[in-house]
C-alpha cells in the first residue's frame, strides 16, 4: 500500500526580551543557577504576575508577519500540573484565546514549487525551570533561571507531507523570527525548539491517522531523521497488523529511534482556566499600527526586491535573503559596489570560507566594508578576479586592517596591481613568442587551441597581474601577423 505522511509542528521560540514574561528577572543564558529568579519566579506565597509588554509586541509582530489576525481580547490561562521545576504548580499560557490566530507561511519545496503551510495559532507562555539530575547524588537540583522566560509557541496545521517539508517549514519560521528580531535562533541553547506531530494514512484517505508527538528534536537534522524513522515505525506497525497509539515519543539521536514517553491515558488533565491574576490583553488598532511600523522588510518581499533592484538571479536572491545578516551584509556591499559581483563573492568565496570554519556571517573576518573595497578594485580593473581571491585570502587572515582600504593595502603590500601598460605587456608577449617558435607554427597552421597556452605563459610571466583582456587582444594581433 502507498502511505502518506502527515506532519504538524509545534515550535517554541524564546522571545528576545530583556526580562521574563511576568517578572523583572533577566533571561540571560548561562548564568549561575537560581541567580535570575526573584520572588515572583520562585512563586513565593502572595506574589503576582505582571505582563511584559515587550513580549506582547513581539508576538504581535509575528502575527502581522504571517498575515494572522491578532486576538483583540486574548487571555492568559493557567495550565495546571505538578513538577518541581514549575514553581507555581501551573504554567501561565494561552488556551482558547491566543494572541495570534490563523496565519500562514510559504515554503519552497525541492522541486522549486511553493507550498502554503497554515499556522493554526501562536501564543505566549512561560518556560519552566530546569531539573538537574546529575551532581546531586540521588537528589534533584532545581534551577529556576529559565523559569518564566517568555516563549511564543507556534503551532502549524497538519499541512506537511514529508520530513523535508517539515524541515523547510521549520527553517522558514526560524528565519522569520530572526528577521523580526524576536528570537536569537539558537537551537543549541534551546531558544528555538521543535516538537512534531506525525501520523500516516493510506494515500487517498481523507481521515488522519493516529498521531504520535515527537519530542527532543532540536536540530534541523534531527527533525528530518526523527520524522523519517517514526514514519517508518508507524508504517511497519500498521502493515504488521498493529495500530498506532496516541502518545508522546522521545527521539534518541544516538540510536536514531523514537521511544514511548507517555500515552494519552497517562497525559495530564491540565484544567485550563483563565488566570484571574491577569486581565485580558486588549489589542487596539493604534497599537497594531505602531507594531506594523516597526516590522522589518520580510524575507519574501526582500527576495523580490533583490531580484528586481539588483537584477540578481532567483537563486542568488534566495541565498542572500535566507537570513537577515547575510541580506544586510549584501546590501551594505551593494550600495557602493557592483551588486552582481557582490552576490557572487558572498555566495561563493565568502560562504565557502565561512562554512569551512563554521562561522556566522556576523563573525566573518572579512566584513562588508572590506569586501566592498575589494570589489571596487575588481571593477576598476586594478586587479583581476583571480588576483582578488589572493587578496581575499590575505584579508581573511587579518592582513590589511578591517576597513574599506584593506584590499588596497594588501594589493600594495604584495604588488598585485594589474599590469595595464601595453608596452610592458607587449614586451612579455614578444619574449614568449620568441621563446616558443614551435607553438607559433602550430597556431599559424590552424591549431587554435594553442592560443590558450600563450595566454597562460603571459599570465604566468606577469605573475597573474597582466590585464587578461589586453593580453588576449595583443596576442591575437601578434600571432596573426
Amino acid at each position: 500500500m502507498e502511505w502518506e505522511t502527515v506532519i504538524g509542528l509545534e515550535i517554541h521560540a524564546q522571545l528576545s526580551t530583556k526580562s521574563k514574561l511576568f517578572s523583572g528577572s533577566s533571561i540571560e543564558y548561562g548564568q549561575e543557577p537560581n541567580t535570575q529568579a526573584n520572588v515572583v519566579d520562585l512563586a513565593m506565597p502572595g506574589v503576582l504576575p505582571v505582563l511584559n509588554a515587550e513580549a506582547v509586541r513581539m508576538a504581535a509582530m509575528f502575527g502581522l508577519a504571517i498575515g494572522a489576525p491578532i486576538g483583540r481580547g486574548n487571555v492568559f490561562a493557567r495550565k495546571n500540573y505538578f513538577y518541581p521545576d514549575l514553581p507555581q504548580g501551573y504554567q501561565i499560557s494561552q488556551f482558547d484565546k491566543p494572541i495570534v490566530e490563523l496565519g500562514h507561511i510559504d515554503i519552497t519545496l525541492e522541486d522549486g514549487e511553493t507550498k502554503r503551510v497554515g499556522v493554526t495559532r501562536a501564543h505566549l507562555e512561560q518556560d519552566a525551570g530546569k531539573s538537574l539530575h546529575e551532581d546531586f547524588a540521588g537528589m534533584t537540583g532545581i534551577d529556576l533561571n529559565r523559569s518564566g522566560t517568555p516563549l511564543l509557541e507556534i503551532v502549524s496545521e497538519p499541512d506537511m507531507r514529508s520530513a523535508k517539508e517539515a524541515v523547510a517549514y521549520m527553517k522558514k519560521i526560524h528565519e522569520l523570527v530572526q528577521y523580526l528580531g524576536i528570537n536569537d535562533g539558537n537551537l543549541q541553547e534551546g531558544s528555538f525548539r521543535c516538537d512534531a506531530n506525525v501520523s500516516v494514512r493510506p494515500k487517498g484517505q481523507e481521515e488522519f491517522g493516529t498521531r504520535a508527538e515527537l519530542k527532543n528534536i532540536n536540530s534541523f537534522k534531527f527533525v528530518e531523521r526523527a520524522i523519517n524513522i517514526e514514519v517508518e515505525r508507524q508504517i511497519d506497525l500498521i502493515e504488521d497488523g498493529g495500530s498506532v497509539v496516541q502518545e508522546t515519543r522521545l527521539y534518541d539521536p544516538d540510536k536514531n529511534e523514537t521511544r514511548s514517553m507517555r500515552s494519552k491515558e497517562e497525559a495530564n488533565d491540565y484544567r485550563y482556566f483563565p488566570d484571574p491574576d491577569l486581565l485580558p490583553i486588549e489589542i487596539t488598532d493604534e497599537f497594531l499600527e505602531e507594531v506594523r511600523k516597526t516590522l522589518p522588510e520580510l524575507p519574501g518581499v526582500k527576495f523580490k526586491r533583490f531580484v528586481e533592484e539588483y537584477d540578481l538571479s532567483e537563486y542568488d536572491a534566495g541565498v542572500l535573503t535566507a537570513n537577515i545578516a547575510t541580506a544586510d551584509y549584501f546590501e551594505s556591499v551593494a550600495k557602493s559596489a557592483d551588486a552582481k559581483l557582490a552576490a557572487n563573492w558572498i555566495t561563493g568565496e565568502l560562504s565557502s570560507h565561512l562554512n569551512k570554519e563554521d562561522l556566522s556571517i556576523n563573525d566573518s573576518p572579512v566584513n562588508a566594508a572590506m569586501l566592498t573595497g575589494l570589489i571596487k578594485r575588481i571593477e576598476d580593473k586594478t586587479i583581476s578576479g583571480k588576483i582578488a581571491k589572493q587578496v581575499f585570502e590575505a584579508m581573511w587572515n587579518a592582513e590589511g586592517g578591517t576597513d574599506e582600504s584593506a584590499a588596497d593595502k594588501v594589493i600594495d603590500a604584495k604588488g598585485l596591481k594589474q599590469i595595464t601598460d601595453s608596452g610592458a605587456i607587449e614586451s612579455i608577449i614578444d619574449e614568449i613568442i620568441a621563446n616558443n617558435p614551435a607553438q607559433v607554427e602550430q597556431f599559424q597552421s590552424g591549431k587554435d587551441k594553442v592560443f590558450g597556452f600563450f595566454v597562460g605563459q603571459v599570465m604566468k610571466a606577469s605573475q597573474g597581474k597582466a590585464n587578461p583582456a589586453q593580453v588576449n587582444q595583443m596576442l591575437k594581433d601578434k600571432l596573426s601577423t
Partner: protein, 494 residues
C-alpha cells in the same frame, strides 16, 4: 499609660501623639501589654512582634518629633497572617507555612510600614482564609470576646477579635466571601471590604484571586476611613488593581443623608434570617429614616445562586493557587519522601487541613475535562447575572442595606461537622464579592446578647459614600461604642 486609650478614636490618638501627650512607644507597649494579658484566652494572634513593633514605634516618635509624620504615624495595628511580612512568619493559618518566614512585604504592609505604623503582630485566621468561624486554623480556634464559647466568625476572626477586645486599635483583614464583614458583624465592630482592585493584592496569600480583597477592621467608620485611605491605591505589582485616585474619605464623613436612597433587597429578609437579627436591622433602617433617607424595596433575584456559584469559582481558583505549596521551595515537606509523588502527596496531605483539602478537591473537580462547562463556565455566567442584578438596583438607589449574617455568633464546634450549613452563613455577603462591589458591616445592636452587624453595600468605588452613611449612623447611635465588659474600660476608670 491611661487605660482610657482604648476608647480613643484614631484621630484622638493621632492628636495625642503629635502633641506629645504620649509617645508611640508608650502606646505600642500599652497594646502589647493588653495582648499579653488577654490573648491567651482569645487566641487572636499567631505571632506577636513586640520587638519590631517597638522599633517602628521609636522611628515613629522620631518622625513625629521632626515633623515628618503623617496622621497615622505611630498608631499600632495588627495584620491578618495572610499578608506577607518581611522577616516575620507568615502562616496563613496553615501547618503548610508554619515554618515560612516571608522574604518580602505585601504592598499593604509596606505602605503602612512606610508611615511607621507599628505592627503588633499577625492575627489568627481560617487556614488560607477558608472558613466562616476561624475554627479551621492550624493554630486553634479564635474566641469571640463577647462570649468565649462562641466563634468570632471568619476567616479574619483573629483581626476581628483583636479589635473587638481592644488588643489593637485597628487591624487589616481580607474578604473573599465575607471574611471581613461577617467577623466584624459577629464581634460588634466596623469592617469594610472595598471594591475589588482598590487595595493591592500583592503579597496577600491568594485564596481565590478574582474575589480576594484586603480591607479594614476598626471601632468606627471614621477610623476605618483613615486606615482604608492609607492602604488603598494602584499598585503596578498587581495587574488587577485599579488606577483611579484614592479620595480623602474623612472629608465626606459628615455629609448629610437627607434624600439618601437606601435599597432593601427583599431576598435578604426572607426565610433563613433569624427574627431577632431581622429586628435589629429593621431598627437600624428606622434610624436611617430619621436621618432623612428614603427606603426603597429592591430585588436581587439571583441571590440564591450566589453560594453555589461561589463554591465553584472560589475552590476552582484555590485549587490552582494552592498548587505552589508542594514542599519543594518553602513550607512543609514530609520526612524522608521515597519519590516525587510521595513527597507531593504526604507534604500536602499532612500539612493541609480538612476544609482546604475539601476545597482543593472541589475546585479540581470543577475544572476537570468534561466538567468545566457545566460548573466553572456556568458559575461565571451566574456571576455576570449577579453583577447585573446589582447594577440594576444601583440605578435606583445610593446604597443597599441588609443583614451581614443570618444569625449571631454560633458556638464553637456547633457547625464544624456541617460544611453546608457553614457555607450558608455567607448568604448575604458572598454575592458582592462575585460582583466585585464594596461592603461594610456596622454594629447595629444585639440579638440574644450577641452583636449584630448592618451591612451597607455600595456601587464600585463608592467607599466614601458608604463610610459617610456608616459614620452618620454612628453619630446618631452608640452601638459601635460597646465593648465586651471583660475588655472594657469604663469612662473615668484608670
Amino acid at each position: 499609660m491611661d487605660n482610657q486609650m482604648i476608647n480613643k478614636s484614631l484621630a484622638e490618638l493621632s492628636v495625642g501623639l503629635q502633641s506629645g501627650k504620649f509617645s508611640s512607644v508608650e502606646l505600642t507597649q500599652f497594646y502589647l501589654d493588653r495582648i499579653a494579658s488577654h490573648d491567651s484566652e482569645l487566641n487572636a494572634f499567631i505571632t506577636v512582634t513586640a520587638e519590631q513593633a517597638l522599633a517602628t514605634a521609636k522611628t515613629a516618635d522620631e518622625k513625629i518629633a521632626s515633623g515628618s509624620a503623617s496622621g497615622l504615624t505611630g498608631i499600632p495595628l495588627a495584620h491578618k497572617d495572610i499578608f506577607c511580612t518581611d522577616g516575620v512568619k507568615t502562616s496563613a493559618g496553615s501547618k503548610m507555612l508554619d515554618n515560612f518566614i516571608a522574604p518580602y512585604n505585601a504592598t499593604v504592609v509596606e505602605k503602612l510600614k512606610s508611615i511607621s505604623m507599628p505592627m503588633l503582630g499577625k492575627t489568627n485566621m481560617d487556614e488560607f482564609a477558608m472558613g466562616s468561624s476561624n475554627e479551621n486554623s492550624y493554630y486553634g480556634a479564635v474566641k469571640n470576646p463577647w462570649d468565649l464559647d462562641r466563634v468570632p466568625g471568619g476567616s479574619s476572626g483573629g483581626s476581628a477579635a483583636a479589635v473587638a477586645a481592644k488588643l489593637a486599635p485597628i487591624a487589616t483583614g481580607t474578604d473573599t466571601g465575607g471574611s471581613i464583614r461577617q467577623p466584624a458583624s459577629l464581634t460588634g465592630i466596623t469592617g469594610i471590604k472595598p471594591t475589588y482592585g482598590r487595595v493591592s493584592r500583592y503579597g496577600m496569600i491568594a485564596y481565590a484571586s478574582s474575589l480576594d480583597q484586603g480591607g479594614v477592621f476598626a471601632s468606627s467608620a471614621a477610623d476605618s476611613a483613615l486606615l482604608l485611605e492609607a492602604m488603598s491605591g494602584f499598585d503596578a505589582k498587581d495587574s488587577t488593581s485599579v488606577d483611579i485616585p484614592v479620595p480623602d474619605y474623612s472629608t465626606t464623613l459628615n455629609d448629610s443623608l437627607q434624600g439618601l436612597k437606601i435599597g432593601l433587597p427583599k431576598e435578604y429578609f426572607e426565610e433563613g434570617l433569624n427574627s431577632e437579627v431581622a429586628k435589629v436591622i429593621e431598627a437600624a433602617v428606622e434610624e436611617y429614616k430619621k436621618l432623612g433617607a428614603e427606603i426603597i424595596e429592591v430585588s436581587l433575584p439571583n441571590t440564591h445562586l450566589a453560594i453555589p456559584a461561589y463554591y465553584v469559582i472560589a475552590p476552582a481558583e484555590a485549587s490552582s493557587n494552592l498548587s505552589r505549596f508542594d514542599g519543594v521551595r518553602y513550607g512543609y515537606r514530609c520526612e524522608d519522601p521515597v519519590d516525587l509523588t510521595d513527597m507531593y502527596m504526604r507534604s500536602r496531605g499532612d500539612a493541609f487541613g480538612r476544609e482546604v483539602k475539601r476545597r482543593i478537591m472541589t475546585g479540581t473537580y470543577a475544572l476537570s475535562a468534561g466538567y468545566y462547562d457545566a460548573y466553572y463556565l456556568k458559575a461565571q455566567k451566574i456571576r455576570r447575572l449577579i453583577s447585573e442584578d446589582f447594577q440594576k438596583v444601583f440605578e435606583k438607589v445610593d446604597v443597599i442595606m441588609g443583614p451581614v449574617a443570618p444569625e449571631t455568633a454560633f458556638k464553637i464546634g456547633e457547625k464544624s461537622d456541617d460544611p453546608i450549613s457553614m457555607y450558608l452563613s455567607d448568604i448575604y455577603t458572598i454575592a458582592l464579592n462575585l460582583a466585585g462591589l464594596p461592603g461594610m458591616s456596622v454594629p447595629a445592636g444585639f440579638a440574644n446578647n450577641m452583636p449584630v452587624g448592618l451591612q451597607i453595600i455600595g456601587n464600585a468605588f463608592t467607599e466614601g459614600k458608604m463610610l459617610n452613611v456608616a459614620h452618620q449612623y454612628q453619630q446618631a447611635t452608640d452601638w459601635h461604642k460597646q465593648t465586651p465588659s471583660k475588655y472594657a474600660v469604663s469612662e473615668g476608670e484608670k
